[in-house]
Symmetry: C2
Subunit: 344 residues, 2 copies
C-alpha cells in the first residue's frame, strides 16, 4: 500500500510500504477514508535529525474496518471507526481512569512496527480499546467534524477540562492553530463567558470568534500581555490555555494568568525547564494539562458532533489526496493552510 | 516594647523598638500571648544579605486585642485573636474568593512599617479582615493548636486541598518539618488512605505516623524515589506534597508522582526554573499549591481544633520566652527543635 514517510526535515513522501496484516488477535485492519496533518507533525517535519532513519507519520484517522483479530469483540468488519491519536488496551488501570495516553500497552502510530495514519490502511493494536464505532455517514462536513475527535477537538476539550473551565469563567487561549481554536470551542461549550484568543492570523481568529472567542489579541510578548491585562481590569484571566508549546507561549501564559488561576498546556513543550519559582508560587498558579487522552472524550463529544451542536470540522481548510500530502505539509508549515484533510 | 529583629545571617536579637500605635482607623493593636518561629524564618536567618538593613521578623501569632481603630467593627478590645501569616482587607475580590494572600491591600508582617509577630505587641492592619476571634482558653495544648491556624496547619491544609485529596487517595509528603507533618494530618483528614512520609528525622516521622502517615521513607534522591515506587507497585502516588521547596524536593516529587497526578508545592521554592518539559506533560502531571491563604481555612479548621479532633499543636517541641528567641532560631536551624513556641 501507499503511506506517508518522513525522510528528513522538509522531506515527506508517499512511499510504497508493506500492506498491514493482523499480527495479534487483538488487532484490526482499518482502510483509511479520512486522515489529516497535525501541527505536531510539523515539529519532526521542520527539525528531523539527519541521523535518523525515515519514519512513518500521521496519527489522526478514521476509516472502515476490513479485518479483525480473533479476540476483537466490540469492533466488526465494515464498521466506520475513528482512532484516537494513541492506541490503548482499554483495560489497564490508566485506561479505566480515562488516561489512555499512559496505557500500560499503548503507543503511538507510526512507531514500533505500527502504521502511521496518513496512508491507505493501518494495523490497529488493541482494536477494542482503541477504536470507536461511528454511525455511517457520507456527509463531508460531518466526516470532518468526526475526524477531529481523533485529536484536535479532544485536545481542546482536555485543555478546558483539566483547567476546570466552568460557567462564567474567563479564559485566554494562546495560539490560533486548530487546537487553539478548538480550545476556544471547548471552553465556550463548558460555559466560559469571556474568551480572549491570542493569535495574529485574521482568518483563523475569525473562526475562533465563530467558535466563541469574545476578544482577539494579535500582539505577542509583553505587548500581548499588556493587552490582555487591559481587557481584564489588570488581573488577567482565571484560565489560560497554552495551545502552542513554545517558551514564549508559556511566558505569555504566566503573564496573563490571574492570581489563583490555572495554565493548561496542551501544546507539546519545546523546552525542558520553565520559570516555576516564587512568582508562580506566590500567585498560586496551577500548571495542568498535558497530552490529551482523546479516547476518553469521544463518548461525551460524539453526540454533539452528530447533532451539529458543535462543528469542530470547520478547522479544515484544505483537502488533498495521498499524492497531495507533501504539498499539504508545505502549506501547513507556511501557514497557508490551517489544517489539511487527507482523503486517501 | 521588645521585638525580634534580624540583623544579619545567624544574628537575630530581641531589641527595644517603638510601641505600636493605631495609624489607620482599620488597625488594631494586639498584645501577643503566643508566637512561633517558622521554617520560612530560617531562610533569611541563614542567608540574609549583608547589604540589607536589620528587619523585624515573625509572622505567626495570637494575642489579646488591646485597642481598635474607629472603623473596626467585628473585633473588640479584650478578644483573643489569631492572625494569619499575611494580613488582608477581607473585602477585595481576592479575599472574597479565599485567596487572601493576593489581597489588593494585604502584606507581610515585619515589613513596610508593620510589626513582626515575634514581639510584645503588633499593629494589625485591616483588623476586621485579618483577625479571627477565638474562644478564651488557658489550656496550653489548645493554645498551641490554635496558633498553628496562623500558618502551618493552614498551609498543610492548603497543600492537601489544592491537590484535591479525596477519600481513598494515595499521597506522598516530602519533608518532615512542621508543614510536612501537618500536610500528613490534612491529607488524612480529607480521607487519604495511604500516606507516605519522606523524612529522615525519626522523632519527626514518628509524629507524622501519629498524624496518619502509613509509611515512612528515610532515603532521598533516586533511592527515595525507588522506595516510593516499590511501595506503590511502580506507579507512585496520585498526590505529592512538596513541603520543602528545594529543587531536590521538586525532583523527588516528579519522581514519585503517578501519571495523571498532582504535585502541590507549599514550601517556598528555592529555585527559579524547574523541569517542566515533555516528561511532566506526557504524564499529565499537574503542579499546584502555592503560598497558603490560611485566613480562608480558619473557619473550617477551628471547630476540629476546639473539640480536639485534630491536635496540630503537637508540632511544638520547645517553648521560649522573648529572651530565648535567638536560641530558638539556633535550635530550629540545627534541627534540635521541630517548632519553637514563643510566649512573650
Amino acid at each position: 500500500m501507499r503511506a506517508t514517510v518522513l525522510h528528513g526535515a522538509g522531506d515527506v513522501r508517499v512511499d510504497d510500504v508493506p500492506d498491514p496484516r493482523i499480527t495479534a488477535p487483538t488487532d484490526a485492519i482499518v482502510r483509511v477514508t479520512a486522515a489529516c496533518i497535525c501541527g505536531t507533525d510539523l515539529h519532526p517535519y521542520g527539525n528531523m535529525n539527519p541521523a535518523e532513519q525515515p519514519v512513518r507519520i500521521g496519527h489522526e484517522f478514521m476509516g472502515t474496518v476490513e479485518e479483525i483479530g480473533s479476540q476483537v469483540t466490540t469492533i466488526k468488519r465494515g464498521d466506520l471507526v475513528v482512532a484516537p491519536f494513541v492506541y490503548s488496551d482499554g483495560t489497564c488501570e490508566f485506561c479505566q481512569m480515562g488516561l489512555q495516553t499512559s496505557c500500560d500497552h499503548g503507543g503511538f502510530w507510526g512507531a514500533q512496527g505500527v502504521d502511521g495514519g496518513q496512508g491507505e490502511a493501518v494495523r490497529v493494536p488493541w482494536a477494542d480499546g482503541t477504536l470507536v464505532t461511528l454511525p455511517r455517514t457520507e456527509d463531508p462536513r460531518l466526516i470532518q467534524s468526526l475526524l477531529t475527535l481523533s485529536d484536535v477537538m479532544g485536545t481542546g476539550h482536555h485543555a478546558a477540562t483539566t483547567a476546570g473551565v466552568r460557567r462564567g469563567d474567563t479564559v485566554t487561549v494562546i495560539g490560533d492553530g486548530a487546537v487553539g481554536l478548538l480550545s476556544v470551542l471547548a471552553a465556550r461549550r463548558l460555559g466560559a463567558d469571556r474568551i480572549i484568543l491570542m493569535g495574529r492570523h485574521g482568518s483563523r481568529t475569525s473562526l475562533g470568534q465563530e467558535f466563541g472567542a469574545t476578544d482577539v489579541v494579535a500582539e505577542r510578548g509583553e505587548q500581548g500581555i499588556e493587552q490582555v491585562r487591559d481587557l481584564t481590569a489588570g488581573q488577567g484571566t482565571r484560565v489560560v490555555i497554552d495551545a502552542v508549546g513554545f517558551m514564549s507561549a508559556y511566558e505569555q501564559a504566566i503573564g496573563v494568568v490571574r492570581a489563583g488561576g490555572v495554565i493548561s498546556r496542551v501544546g507539546l513543550p519545546q523546552y525542558e525547564q520553565a520559570p516555576l519559582g516564587v512568582p508562580t508560587w506566590f500567585h498560586n498558579v496551577t500548571i495542568t494539562g498535558g497530552i490529551a487522552p482523546t479516547r476518553a472524550y469521544i463518548d461525551e463529544l460524539l453526540p454533539e458532533v452528530l447533532d451539529g451542536t458543535i462543528e469542530p470540522g470547520k478547522v479544515f481548510d484544505r483537502t488533498v489526496g495521498l499524492d497531495g500530502i507533501p504539498d499539504g505539509y508545505r502549506a501547513m508549515a507556511q501557514r497557508e493552510a490551517l489544517k489539511v484533510l487527507v482523503t486517501p
